[in-house]
């Protein structure tokens, strides 16, 4: 049994090493070297090539955030860091660098903490996949216990059933909440250095206020190349869609499933 556990642990550690192709590993090494030698544009190009070839990983998005930060692309750095946070919600390096990038953003952007976020405070520290697997395990155990209860009417199964029912309900609600959060995440990052927010989707409309690179807004809808955005304090207005990018646009949380 101990040998089996050791083998499983070794497989888990070694998995990333053979996950990427030799060519991708070479690109990664070159991009890392370029970063160390302060050739940040070359490093960014390498990481973007990996993104196209291998798909998104939290660490790759984090590295892209670092290169954007070094290239003074504050908005894009925050965009990549926020995308990485969806996959690495507990990474301390990422949290630190994201905080640094946010310090460079000129606009104050207060967060909106609703009741659901306060009640399900753990959702921000877990990925959708982690919550799903926990719920799936709880689901199997709960219904297995229900089956057992058909044949074993012992008192301990009664109390165990109530315990598992509670855990199953919390896990199910958490999964639904996270699924909804990811699916309805309309946050976007301002990428233009300074952009005027207008009263309507027309360049001749009244200028309401200005936003700067790195500010996170809510993208309510788009119309013919224009986006209607909303700030946490209720300010709303239109800007050209080239001036911002959705955080979840380049990140697919599901595999084989469409987003909710």
């Amino acid at each position: 049994m101990r040998r089996l556990l050791l083998l499983l642990a070794a497989l888990c550690v070694a998995a990333p090493l053979w996950a990427a192709s030799p060519e991708s590993r070479k690109v990664l090494q070159e991009a890392d070297r370029a970063y160390r030698e302060a050739q940040y544009q070359a490093a960014q190009d390498g990481y973007l090539q990996l993104l196209r070839n291998e798909g998104a990983t939290g660490h790759l998005l984090y590295n892209l955030g670092n290169t954007a930060f070094r290239l003074n692309q504050t908005g894009r750095a925050i965009l990549y860091y926020e995308r990485a946070r969806l996959l690495l919600p507990r990474d301390p390096d990422l949290a630190y660098n994201l905080a640094r990038a946010r310090e460079l953003a000129r606009d104050a952007a207060p967060g909106s903490a609703g009741f659901a976020n306060a009640a399900f405070f753990w959702l921000g520290s877990l990925t959708l996949a982690e919550i799903f697997w926990f719920f799936a395990a709880t689901n199997v155990l709960f219904w297995s216990l229900m089956l057992l209860r058909l044949y074993v009417k012992a008192e301990w199964t009664h109390y165990l059933l109530y315990l598992f029912l509670t855990v199953w309900l919390i896990a199910g609600a958490s999964f639904w909440m996270k699924w909804h959060q990811v699916g309805s995440d309309d946050r976007a990052v301002i990428l233009a250095a300074e952009v005027g927010i207008l009263a309507g989707p027309d360049i001749r409309d009244t200028l309401l206020f200005k936003l700067h690179e790195g500010t996170i807004v809510r993208q309510e809808r788009t119309e013919e190349g224009w986006s209607l955005i909303r700030l946490a304090d209720g300010k709303r207005g239109w800007l050209r869609s080239e001036g911002l990018e959705r955080i979840v646009a380049g990140y697919k949380p599901t595999r084989g499933l469409s987003s909710p």
Partner: protein, 586 residues
Amino acid sequence: MKRRAPGLLAALAVVSLLAIARPANCEVTLSLSLDRSEATLVDSVMLSVSVSGARGQAARPAIQGLDDFLVRPAGASTRVQIVNGAYSSGTDFTFVIQPKKAGAFSIGPAQLTVDGTTYSSNVAALAVGQPVASPDGDRGPVFLVASIAPAKVYIEQQAIYTLKLYRSVSIADASVNVPELDGVAIAKHGEPREYQGVHQGRPYQIIEVRYLVTPQRAGNFTLPPTRMDLTVYTPQNRPRRGIFDDPFFGQRASGRPQALMSEALPFPVLPLPLDGRPADFGGLVGGFTLEATLEPRELKAGESATLRATVRGRGNVKRIPELKIPTLDGIKVYADQPVLKSENDGDGVTVTKILTWALVPERAGRYQIPPLALSYFDTASGRYKSLKTTGATLTVAPGRPGDLPAPPRVAGTAAPAQPKREVAELGSDILPVHATIGETASGLAALPGAAVFWLLLIGPVAAFLLTFGGAALRQRSAGITAARSVRRAAGVFARACERSGLTADELMQALQDYLSQRLSLARGSLTADEAAALLRSRSVNERTVGELHGLWRRVEDAIYTGRGGEATTAGAALAALVARIEKELP
């Protein structure tokens, strides 16, 4: 009534004229004009768009070619003209435009869409040049002057950038756009001041705003001109007609937007010299003093003396280092939190940093407290300077044993708690890239495929429901089988009784089987009394029960008297009796 009559008559006349007049022309025309064709960056230009022929209140026209101008609406007026009995109406829109940059511009056309048709105006040309200083020094009733002091600075040395607005007329809505310069931090310093002064022999009201300029790197910089936008109220030359005819009420002065530009200023920033740089130099630049005091200088062992160092001066105060005291044998040193105080004066920010240590001698003796040192670059002399305090002698008399601050430490016990100080942040940067990028979303790090996803969610529920349903079905099936056997029990017994040569043993066995199945009893041997009691409990007629009891006894007697293997005639009677029992059983 008499006073109102002329006005009423005039109004009636206008209405009558309008009633009988005919429209002169229904064609909509637009014309665009500027009050000048040449201007400078600090001028404002009146732009008028006249719309004629549009019925009712015309919409504001859209004007092309104003991307490089600040545009402020200055009002609209409607006019009606009656010429030879034909009337025409129109609206004049007025705007004040201020150029953002120099160059040649084409302004217009103004466009207006009426009833689906778009009408366009003419295009006007405007040449915008750089502002030119007046050769005789007269700069008009309002102008802006910038200065910086000192004119030449070292890296991180503070300089004061002063803007002075001279005015001899009323102004309002002033806003300043201070230039931004890469490598130079510019921050507002203090509140604006207002005072009276004289320029070229003319009295002016002066508003002064100061900015603290701190260069971050060396180089020959030029501070770009500062632009101030404001509204200037020019007095009108007509007699005052009442207390409300005053600029305060907006009656006698007409406001006109105007932009003022200050001069561009050269701002050379020198690097810090390498020659003579002390080893302990930490980047402190400016002018500073260092003082230290020790009080009291005589005390007993276990008592506390306070060593206080005060660094005071002007410069990049964030770089004032934490002064260190070397370890003193026989004296415990407790550092206190440094205190930083800053004062704004007209020439910059003066900061005082006070560092305090508590010195607690453990035993009697004379202790030399070493001097404290601080190096900085003196911007006044352009040289590095090292400040050093004078050392001090601390005379310690023996104290009573009970006065000692802390008992001798025993191995394994905690050291006395040192006062905590906040970790000072010396720089800001991000953490490095990750060497491995990990797997793309797969395994437990990602959601599974659709089949596995739904299997894990629905599968356990389905398995439970199937098992539960199967168990219920099995239970129901057993019940049906039992009911069927109950219904068939009488038939089986009747067929057994019809058999020829039926013995008493066989009849008793058939009777026992019938009752067991019919009444759903466990298999066993019933006596005549038990059978009678069971049937009574099932509400069978007492007479029928009595007859069964009698026949049961007859068969038992045959069995118990050794004639169990002989044929019996009780079968037909029992069959008839069972048929009655079937009818009476519920």
